[in-house]
């Protein structure tokens, strides 16, 4: 009996002892890939004609969200793998200041070095938490990085220029809200309770990785884990975003555009629904253009990168539902206050 226990402990300490014949997995994988390619190649070429226009557009919009977000999610997972396996232990975290507020400020600027849009930030933030970042700090990074990153700043500048003030308000608003949220959750007595049990287990397991495993193998292992967590969420988010866009008419939102209060709320609702990447949302809202007041546009550009349908589905892999409701409320309130202040005061 003690011997049994010892054996099982050994097995637990070395998660990858379940070896199998090398090459078999590779063959299984290649067969699956081959079957998928054959399916695509021999799928009917002409439209079946059985789908209504609305159903077709729902599929087209959902696919569009997937095709557009997938490379960013892959990039985020790749960066997360680099941070967790290839960088020396503590390479990023050791360089952060000791003072909590200063740490959060530096973390909110991390997006300048790792220009991934919000969907890629989720796997990266998961990697950073697994490496010892606190939950509050990870939220600061998550919410600041999509706005404070070079690609977003350049596209926003191209769309609105410097003079309108929209770019400055966007950067300032994103920075302040992200740091406020980091501060609030740094006061939480049990920050690990904010995380889903499954993600806590994954973090705990991360510490026990067998040093004997090669870096490539650990990378491949992390890739299967992260894709298994992120991709179902991405596909659900894409389906929901497509569904709501085919069900809700945009005219309703646009007609509210010239009212200082309703325009802010309408554009925040639009940001929530369209789930568009922060790198390009400035162009998107520009196409709605002059009908909306500047405060509403800033609220759209600040709220959208932090919270939307797709983002909530992705965040749910990591944070509990209760935490996400709180986060949504705080970010929505802050964005609304910012937008209204710009409409009424500036």
């Amino acid at each position: 009996m003690p011997q049994d226990m010892q054996m099982s402990q050994n097995a637990a300490a070395r998660p990858f002892t379940a070896r199998r014949r090398p090459g078999r997995g590779l063959i299984v994988g290649l067969v699956i890939i081959g079957l998928v390619i054959l399916l695509r190649a021999f799928a009917p070429e002409t439209p079946a004609g059985t789908l209504t226009d609305t159903a077709r557009d729902f599929v087209t919009l959902s696919i569009s969200v997937v095709i557009e977000s997938l490379p960013f999610v892959f990039l985020g997972i790749l960066l997360s793998i680099v941070v967790q396996t290839w960088l020396p232990e503590g390479f990023l975290l050791r360089r952060l200041p000791k003072n909590p507020a200063a740490r959060r400020v530096v973390l909110s600027l991390l997006g300048m070095l790792l220009p991934v849009c919000e969907c890629g930030n989720v796997p990266l933030a998961r990697g950073l938490i697994a490496k010892g970042l606190t939950v509050g700090e990870s939220m600061t990074f998550l919410f600041a990085a999509p706005i404070l990153n070079p690609v977003t700043i350049i596209t926003t500048q191209q769309a609105f220029g410097w003079d309108s003030g929209i770019l400055v308000w966007r950067i300032a608003g994103g920075f302040l809200i992200a740091n406020l949220i980091g501060y609030i959750y740094s006061r939480h007595p049990k920050p690990e309770a904010l995380l889903t049990p499954r993600f806590q287990d994954a973090c705990a397991l991360g510490d026990r990785h067998d040093a004997a495993d090669g870096k490539i193998k650990r990378s491949a292992d992390l890739f299967t884990k992260e894709t298994s967590a992120m991709l179902p969420a991405l596909f659900i988010g894409a389906g929901l975003a497509g569904l709501i866009q085919t069900a809700v008419s945009r005219e309703v939102l646009v007609t509210l555009g010239s009212n200082p209060v309703w325009s802010v709320l309408a554009l925040m609702a639009l940001a929530f629904v369209v789930s568009i990447c922060s790198n390009v949302d400035a162009f998107f809202i520009l196409s709605f253009g002059a009908t909306f007041m500047p405060g509403a546009i800033v609220a759209f550009l600040v709220f959208g990168p932090m919270i939307d349908i797709k983002m909530l589905a992705l965040l749910r892999t990591t944070f509990t539902a209760k935490t996400l409701v709180q986060l949504t409320l705080i970010v929505a309130l802050c964005s609304a206050v910012l937008g209204l202040a710009i409409n009424y005061v500036v």
Binding site: P15, R20, G25, I32, I33, P71, S228, G239
Partner: protein, 252 residues
């Protein structure tokens, strides 16, 4: 090795394969433009190739099932099968949407949701002023609709000829006599597509040109003869040629 564990472990790799194959196939067959802006083509395909390398590495190196530690919240539980059912549903839907259904553009159903020619942004207005005096024979549906929206008068359009390709979508204010030859403007991906169009006066158009079919029109502009239509200036073509959907159905 239970099926549920196997599924949980490998659903990400399976979904990755579906996404990667769909992306690369769309790229190879020149249809990525149905979903995203051309500026993302290279990035999207390159990331798909990287991910494909990782998927193959995962199949080659990673053990088939997870160890027990990762399933603390999974074992037992009467509703655990729901998770597996959900996974199968997601993977099945992804396969049908991305691999089985033929790629398609957006249709008139989305035009109705998105206020045709509704946007009057700074961008399109400044573009419109720079359009005046350009080479009118190369103008797209977007260029002409910008000029129409900007309110260039009848005098301006009197001697101009538009040569455009677009899809047919009805004018809501006079669907009997007027349709729009329309295109979607895409700034990032199909999600943000905005419909733009030029009104065409052609009584009984429904009998010859079904909604969402593609047509080529070469015609001059004139005052709209329709009484109920809200459009002031329309194309009044003598002839409309049905045509195939262009390789780049959206304009940028």
């Amino acid at each position: 090795m239970s099926f549920r564990r196997l599924l949980r472990r490998w659903q990400g790799a399976l979904l990755s394969i579906v996404g990667i194959v769909a992306t690369v196939w769309l790229g190879a067959s020149g249809q990525l433009g149905l979903y995203i802006h051309p500026r993302y083509f290279v990035f999207t395909v390159v990331m798909a190739v990287f991910a494909a390398a990782l998927v193959v590495a995962a199949f080659a190196l990673v053990p088939a099932t997870e160890d027990a530690h990762e399933l603390l919240d999974d074992d037992g539980g009467r509703w655990a099968w729901l998770w597996s059912a959900g996974s199968i549903l997601i993977i099945g839907s992804a396969i049908v949407a991305l691999l089985v259904l033929p790629p398609a553009t957006l249709t008139t159903a989305t035009v109705a949701k998105r206020d045709l020619n509704g946007s009057t942004s700074d961008l399109t207005q400044s573009e419109a002023s720079s359009l005046v005096g350009g080479d009118y024979s190369t103008f797209t549906v977007r260029d002409w609709s910008s000029l129409l929206r900007q309110g260039a008068g009848e005098d301006f359009f009197a001697d101009k000829t538009a040569t455009v390709i677009g899809f047919v979508t009805p004018d809501t204010s006079d669907p009997e006599n007027v349709f729009f030859v329309a295109r979607f403007v895409v700034s990032c991906c199909a999600v943000d597509a905005q419909p733009v169009g030029i009104p065409v006066y052609y009584p009984g158009w429904q009998d010859e040109y079904p909604t969402d079919s593609w047509v080529a029109i070469e015609s001059g502009f004139d005052t709209n003869p329709s009484i109920s239509s809200e459009e002031a200036i329309v194309l009044v073509p003598g002839e409309i040629t049905p045509t195939d959907q262009p390789a780049q159905p959206y304009v940028y």
